[in-house]
Symmetry: C2
Subunit: 199 residues, 2 copies
Amino acid sequence: MNDESPTEILNATYRTLCKHGYADLTLQDIAAESEMSKASIHYYYESKNELFVVFLEFLYDRYTTLIDSTDSVCSREHLRSLLRMFLTDEEGRSEKEFRTAMLEMKAQAPYDDEIQTRLVEFDEYLFKRIREIISTGVDAGEFTESVAPERIAEILTTIITGSHTRQVAIDHSVDRLYETITTNVETQLLTSAVAEEAQ
Amino acid sequence: MNDESPTEILNATYRTLCKHGYADLTLQDIAAESEMSKASIHYYYESKNELFVVFLEFLYDRYTTLIDSTDSVCSREHLRSLLRMFLTDEEGRSEKEFRTAMLEMKAQAPYDDEIQTRLVEFDEYLFKRIREIISTGVDAGEFTESVAPERIAEILTTIITGSHTRQVAIDHSVDRLYETITTNVETQLLTSAVAEEAQ
């Protein structure tokens, strides 16, 4: 790994990825997008693959920071803000372009162990964070004890992944999912509170 | 479209796709897998892209037939058999290889309108079929009237898509989802019946 490799290369990789997608992208394209020559990029990374493994680590840091930036003393609001981040399109077009590149990397992962290992980390971080939010809500008596945090986290991680795949592959709006999912999940999570109130 | 193009080419395309994936696949690879020469394949299809548009129509027929093959007078069992088909791995390895190729096509779709149009049809068929099963269950009094069939269908379509993406990208088992999803969905669908019994 190249700890001292300039962030400039990684930022240029991000911009190039949104513009060109992953499949046809070359180190030359990244050089054209950055202020560095192809030779300088080669000094740090021997191949596109090597660069992308480091790039995914860089993205992972941004990803976990972003997830951790959603917070609230209220678990219901905390979960909502997380779902809002993943299931609405506040960033607009650039978000979709980035997800397109991510889907290309996901499709590449079965042929590339290093990329797959990195992608597993993204998935696990999201899963664990959701599980934690739900457990916290259960412990605080905000969510019903009858739900298994593991199960809800598994379902929500799958839904977030699926909504991004559908957004890229069939241009399906993610926005309409946010309301559907929050309503649906909250109905399950808040069941006992609602039931208690009704008693 | 080449209505008279031999099914042999399409079957060979399927086998080649499972073996090589989509990205690096050539008409030459398909010829090697079939009993036809590359020239004969070229007689029917000018390019890999043209072949794949027809191939996706061929797959769509198989897909809809497969979905329609799940049936039961009981809506709960009907929904289960559909989810079992998509969320368990009875076919084993070949199913995963095929889904890997499908994910490559999904990642390609934003760059190819014809492929995207075909993929939309797959998604819509699944969505409508699930919505129909749930509506039938509601009409029959088997499922609670308080669920919106549209919403549950939207969620399940997204979950199925997401589980296949995770299976391919991070080698996440789909099997463990089947039980989680059916339990979760049935809890929602059967709520009123359960509630009535409890009264």
